[in-house]
């Protein structure tokens, strides 16, 4: 029971079955901004490009309480993370991103919050049939129907979704909804292949990333960094909306007499990210920060975790207000090599 068909008419029933778990799906009417919890009885539509905020927020919330405490007391209260969640319609690139970020959060010492949320989440993916203008997943080891990180993948076959369980969690989901599904026929594989191929063909942007990780160290002082960062505004759009960016800040916040220690997404593009209290900043300008961002994704991460920390989702390109285009930068890097 690894490949099943779900008639689109039964999609609401399928969703209805996922009770007892927190359902996340691309926000309806919210301008494709983000994944949001699905309200009771609501049937999420999956016909969207991709959300602007990646689904990483479901496992790595923008702001997350690490613990609560009383300033004058010793009582420290940890969050209880036990609610299971299902993310519906996760794009393959975003699922891959979670796999990539998993490495960081389980490296050396485990990050209990992230890993617990990961454990509790089931990713129901939707293969891309209409990749976006700036998608370049195929250049960084992914693809429109990559299943890496997904528990269950759905492929839009027109009338039906083809459902393939990738993991046991996915398998279990299929089992729970068995009565809504039909066994896929043999020709489905072919159909699927065709759709994926077509989709891959639709991906227009590409860059050869093969030599980049090895080449970046040699380009440390290359003038290209000044060139590509001159127009940078130093905002956090590219990093906050990146599915693999995972940096955070920790702050104590007090409301009344209760306090909490919480972490919030941070961005290496912010000046104060690395600012020492002394006023010294090891990355004093946008040039160093841009260089770090590219190096982190295409060099340091590869060194440490053997994978490029970029999934080619194109969000940073789409949303950069000043057309800083990572594909373009990578091409310039390639040229400079």
């Amino acid at each position: 029971m690894s490949a099943m068909l779900l008639n689109k008419e039964k999609w609401p029933d399928f969703v209805g079955r996922l009770t007892g778990k927190k359902l996340w799906a691309p926000q309806a009417g919210g301008d494709g901004m983000r994944f949001a919890p699905v309200a009771e009885g609501e049937v999420p539509a999956l016909d969207y490009g991709n959300t602007r905020v990646p689904p990483k927020q479901a496992v790595f919330p923008q702001t997350e309480t690490l613990f609560r405490f009383q300033v004058d007391g010793e009582k420290v209260e940890e969050p209880k993370l036990e609610e299971e969640a299902v993310l519906l319609g996760v794009r393959p690139c975003d699922a891959r991103a979670m796999v990539i970020v998993d490495k960081l959060f389980s490296w050396d010492e485990d990050d209990p919050y992230y890993l617990k949320r990961r454990e509790l989440v089931t990713l129901v993916g939707l293969a891309c049939t209409e990749p976006g203008l700036n998608c370049f997943c195929t250049s960084v080891g992914g693809g429109p129907a990559s299943t890496e990180g997904l528990d269950l993948v759905m492929i839009d076959l027109g009338e039906n979704y083809l459902l393939e369980a990738i993991t046991e969690k996915g398998q279990a989901l299929l089992a729970e909804t068995e009565d809504l599904l039909e066994e896929a026929k043999d020709d489905v594989a072919e159909q699927k292949e065709k759709i994926i191929n077509e989709s891959e063909q639709k991906i227009k942007r590409s860059v050869n990333t093969e030599d980049i990780p090895g080449g970046l160290p040699g380009l440390w002082e290359d003038p290209l960094w000044q060139r590509v960062s001159a127009s940078c505004l130093g905002c956090g759009t590219c990093t906050f909306l990146c599915p693999t960016c995972h940096c955070f800040d920790i702050q104590d916040e007090t409301e009344g007499f209760d306090s909490r220690r919480c972490r919030s997404w941070d961005s290496c593009m912010f000046a104060e990210y690395t600012l020492h209290t002394s006023g010294h900043n090891p990355r004093p300008s946008r040039r160093e920060r841009t260089r770090n961002r590219i190096n982190h994704k295409y060099n340091y991460y590869v060194d440490k975790f053997d994978v490029i920390a970029c999934v080619g989702c194109g969000r940073c390109i789409n949303l950069c207000p000043v057309n800083i285009d990572i594909v373009d930068i990578l091409k310039q890097v390639e040229e400079a090599l």
């Binding site: 919210g30 901004m33 001159a230 505004l233 905002c235 997404w265 300008s285 207000p321 057309n323």
Partner: protein, 326 residues
């Protein structure tokens, strides 16, 4: 506007010894994107364009450049920055002069009379972006969209950006070099966006902004893109005292947005960049324009017109409105 003339002028300016670089617009990497171009020599000027896609207000780069600590004995590079400005952008320059954010002698302002920009989102919605960079040009009564070699004429009303509909100053108010003749100004449209919010009752307004502000991811692009948000150390980043917590939620996001908008009261020159760059599509322009409207209507003040003006926030009139005072 004559592109040849523009590039010629830009080449001359960029080649000047006392000019560090010229900031203009150049074709972006795909679709309708236009990127800021930093032109250091005459040759670079060939990249420059001026089209209905050049919405970006480049004045922000005047204050964005970091003043890195100089090694002992090294002199700062005090060459001028040349800057291409539309009407709205020039008001930012004028306002920066009011606030001493820049020195007049450190900038060369190249004025570009502006017939009005297209709304990039609207454009992309109606005529989807292509991988190859596309072009938009002005015609007498609208625009021509050129994508993949195909030309489509579009009426001005269909695509004109909101900020341009409302624009009162399409011609640069300050410049050293003016490219071309001033455009004929048009009657600014009624600000329906602000009216619409104003006409809601207070609870509806609260709900409306709650939805908007809840989407804010606090990327600070609105602040960073704003030519008039140029504090080296923004109070909203500061932790002692903390005006706005780091955590991202409706409360903090609202505080951030109030503070940002309020700091621009009587300073905002309505270039609309904050709204354009917002990845969450928060209608930030409405906040700014609401305040700008109050400043104009109630206080008779418009920022960014006269570099010698008294700053609105640092002045008063004995007969300022006080009908709200008990």
């Amino acid at each position: 506007m004559d592109l040849e003339k523009l590039r010629e002028t830009a080449a001359e300016v960029a080649a000047r010894e006392d000019v560090k670089y010229l900031i203009g617009w150049k074709k972006g990497t795909y679709g309708y994107r236009v990127a800021p171009g930093f032109i250091e020599d005459a040759d670079g000027a060939a990249e420059l364009i001026f089209s209905p896609l050049c919405t970006a207000n480049l004045a922000t780069y005047l204050t964005l450049v970091e003043k890195l600590p100089l090694p002992r004995g090294e002199e700062p590079d005090d060459r001028k920055t040349a800057l291409m400005v539309k009407g709205c952008d020039s008001r930012a320059v004028a306002q920066l002069l009011v606030e001493k954010g820049i020195d007049r002698e450190n900038v060369v302002v190249i004025g570009c009379p502006c017939p009005g920009m297209v709304d990039p989102e609207l454009l992309a919605e109606k005529y989807p972006e292509t991988e190859e960079p596309a072009e938009v040009k002005w015609t007498d009564d609208g625009f021509i969209v050129i994508r993949d070699g195909e030309e489509t004429s579009v009426s001005r009303d269909e695509l004109l950006a909101e900020k341009c509909r409302l624009c009162r100053y399409p011609n640069p108010v300050i410049s050293d070099i003016m490219l071309g003749e001033p455009v004929e100004t048009w009657e600014p449209a009624e600000d329906e966006g602000v009216n619409e919010v104003e006409n809601k009752d207070v609870d509806e307004r609260e709900a409306y902004w709650e939805e908007q502000f809840s989407n804010c991811v606090r990327c600070y692009s609105c602040r960073n893109v704003c030519p008039l948000c140029y504090c080296q150390d923004c109070i909203l980043d500061r932790l002692n005292p903390t005006w706005v917590n780091r955590s991202v939620n409706f409360s903090e996001n609202t505080a951030f947005n109030i503070a940002r908008a309020f700091h621009l009261a009587g300073r905002c020159i309505e270039c609309g960049e904050c709204e354009r760059v917002c990845p969450a599509n928060i209608p930030l322009g409405k906040l700014n324009r609401k305040l700008a409207r109050e400043v104009r209507d109630k206080y008779g003040f418009e920022p960014g017109l006269d570099p010698e003006a008294e700053p609105f926030q640092a002045s008063y009139k004995p007969d300022d409105p006080e009908d709200f005072i008990l």
